[in-house]
């Protein structure tokens, strides 16, 4: 095993292959405070990529309700249980074990093998609350009865477990954008990646008899466009871009800004050791211990900063840029209440007011001679 640098864990860790970071790294940031689980992303992905035979229950993008929802069944608790109790002190490197370090000598990673049935309930636990709300209860902040929605794609990890576990070396990480792909011509459907990916984002197609996974919408990304799940997000909760490691972070890069500069967005289950590249702005109202288990020890700070965003016009500007263009925003700026997004060459691709102007209309419309009212 090689020693590689994992900045999520602030330490070196063991991985079957040498460290080899791509020229740039595909990443999505999700604002979980805005997700309403409308599943438009899931459908955008499904109609684009997985409407064929053998893909009936395959959702490269899914949205599950936490804590009780999961697809496949209980993927998160089962992998955490297999890894066992680990400790992570705030402001410290992670001293626990990753799935690579805790693996048995005969395996590449700690894993569990989901059964066929585990994939058959994609909306299991949807909208289930973490506790019952008895009659007459009232709600405090943060809520003691809570749930939140967790949209998930493949995280195109810096240290993918799927890639590490494939005995045929049929999985590769693209140098140009860090997207992780299963070579559909070389895969023999052993299902090792289905076993090894702790996020369970490698899926088996029994019709083609090979495994498949989220392709990061690479044909769109190559043309400078964001993936379909991002383009179609009606809640505008997502932004796709290229994340740099902290030592190369650029302040005018939207995802770098959210992840490094502001510390608003956190990787999920970083303790597994894959350096996943989907990042979440954690929900403000959910149980903090649960959130710390999912997003690491910095979740309190991230929420605190999010709640102070009113005082930060630049961050506010960036949040309104999310979902305002189909193109990939390589850099942005916010001046005089306007947020600008630029493409790779630095040409402007979008501009949005940070605060939409308020238009007041008189109660009486003289043209039609009628009283206006706000009927929803």
């Amino acid at each position: 095993m090689a020693k590689v640098k994992n900045w999520h864990l602030k330490r070196e860790m063991e991985y079957p292959y040498e460290e080899s970071r791509p020229k740039r790294q595909w990443a999505i940031v999700f604002d979980l405070n805005k997700c309403i689980a409308c599943q438009t992303c899931s459908l955008a992905c499904k109609t684009t990529w997985t409407s064929g035979k053998g893909q009936e229950y395959m959702f490269w993008n899914n949205v599950e309700t936490k804590p009780y929802g999961s697809y496949p069944l209980a993927w998160d608790v089962r992998v955490l249980e297999k890894l066992g109790h680990q400790q992570w002190e705030r402001h410290e490197p992670y001293h626990g074990k990753t799935i690579f370090e805790a693996a048995e000598p005969s395996e590449r990673a700690v894993h569990f093998h989901p059964t066929d049935e585990d994939w058959m309930y994609p909306n299991n636990g949807e909208d289930d609350c973490a506790g019952n709300v008895p009659h007459g209860d009232h709600i405090n902040l943060p809520h003691d009865k809570w749930f939140f929605y967790l949209p998930r794609t493949c995280a195109h990890c810096t240290y993918p477990a799927c890639l590490a576990s494939c005995p045929r070396k049929a999985i590769y990480k693209r140098e140009e954008d860090g997207i992780v792909l299963i070579d559909q011509s070389r895969c023999k459907g052993y299902g090792e990646c289905v076993r090894a990916c702790p996020y369970k984002k490698s899926m088996y197609n029994p019709y083609t008899r090979v495994s498949e996974k989220c392709v990061g919408c690479y044909p769109a990304v190559e043309q400078g466009y964001q993936p379909m799940c991002v383009q179609n997000c009606i809640g505008k909760i997502r932004i796709m871009g290229f994340v740099n490691p902290p030592w190369k972070s650029r302040e005018d890069n939207p995802v770098d800004y959210l992840i490094h500069k502001k510390g608003l967005a956190l990787p999920y289950y970083p303790q597994l050791g894959l350096e996943p590249n989907i990042y979440y702005i954690p929900p403000v109202h959910a149980n903090r211990e649960y959130l710390a288990q999912m997003f690491g020890p910095h979740v309190d700070e991230a929420i605190e900063r999010y709640q102070k965003l009113r005082e930060d016009p630049v961050a506010q500007g960036l949040l309104v840029l999310m979902g305002s263009t189909d193109r990939i925003i390589h850099s942005f700026k916010v001046t005089s209440g306007i947020a600008y997004g630029f493409d790779e060459k630095g040409d402007e691709i979008v501009r949005v007011p940070v605060t939409e102007p308020i238009l007041e209309r008189a109660a009486f419309d003289p043209k039609y001679g009628t009283v206006r009212n706000n009927t929803p």
């Binding site: 093998h113 005995p167 197609n205 019709y207 083609t208 008899r209």
Partner: protein, 284 residues
């Protein structure tokens, strides 16, 4: 030193040394190129060797315990073709299909080049091996056709598949080429995604993880499962151009691997021979 490391090092040393057992392919007069020639009578006089297998020890992921201890081997040839009869114990018959279901399988491996044999664990760079891989799944394909989704999931009721969508008034439905776009494995030309033409895949490999299926396979295979035992016959031409060449009167080597589908064995999870077994193709 951990036990696993010790096994690895030992294995590396013994890998090119042959085992004590030897397989003698006796000459018979029947035409082996036809599957129907595999009746019991042809194996009379061919000595059965018991070959020991071990859990594949070199590449992760690998099995924790040996699931197939022994494979019993007989061999005959007709001057043009050579056939191997392989028997091993299995808990049940497994033909794969859905996620997590794996096929029973067996493989024969031969050196491609003359001289000292390559590393027994699937060869090495510039030391290729020629593998004949029989799978119960491929045999099922060959006999009954590649399973449709309705075979795998009889109660599933998908609304519609765009790949099957037809608008009778206007279009004929999609061409096969356009339909394949909805099946990435097929569109990429992966042999795994197509109906298998026979029960045996021919494969070249130059080390772990390098195996690739070759197009013009010529070998045939037939397996039967009875009372907890697989009996599989694999027949191949003695001479395969650019591949393994066996000559009557001349010695060569063969190695074996067995996969137990019931134990979720597939790929690198298998039992293998730790050494090459000498193979004599009798001249007479």
């Amino acid at each position: 030193m951990s036990l696993s490391k010790f096994i690895l090092i030992t294995a590396a040393f013994v890998s090119s040394v042959a085992s004590a057992a030897e397989i003698k392919a006796i000459k018979i007069t029947k035409d082996l190129s036809k599957l129907t020639a595999f009746e019991d009578s042809i194996w009379k006089g061919a000595r059965e060797e018991s070959i020991s297998l071990m859990a594949q020890p070199m590449a992760n992921p690998r099995p924790k315990t040996t699931t197939t201890q022994l494979v019993k081997v007989q061999a005959v040839h007709d001057g043009q073709w050579i056939a191997f009869k392989l028997r091993w114990n299995a808990e049940s018959k497994n033909e794969a299909g859905k996620l997590g279901q794996f096929s029973d399988a067996v493989a024969l491996q031969f050196p491609v080049k003359e001289g000292p044999p390559p590393p027994v664990f699937m060869g090495a760079k510039d030391h290729p091996v020629h593998i004949f891989h029989w799978r119960a799944q491929y045999q099922r394909d060959h006999e009954k056709g590649k399973p449709e989704m309705t075979d795998l999931y009889p109660n599933m009721n998908p609304d519609m598949y765009p790949m099957e969508f037809k608008d009778p008034g206007h279009v004929e439905g999609l061409t096969e080429e356009k339909r394949e776009v909805y099946s990435p494995g097929k569109a990429a030309g992966n042999p795994q995604s197509y109906q298998k033409a026979g029960a045996v895949d021919e494969i070249f490999a130059e080390g772990f993880g390098s195996s690739s299926v070759i197009q013009n396979r010529m070998s045939v295979g037939q397996g039967t499962f009875k009372k907890g035992e697989w009996t599989v016959v694999i027949a191949r031409p003695l001479k395969r151009e650019n591949g393994s060449v066996l000559e009557p009167g001349k010695g060569s080597y063969v190695a074996f691997a067995v996969w137990q589908g019931s134990k979720q064995e597939v790929g690198s999870r298998k039992s293998v021979t730790m050494t090459w077994t000498p193979l004599q193709v009798n001249g007479q």
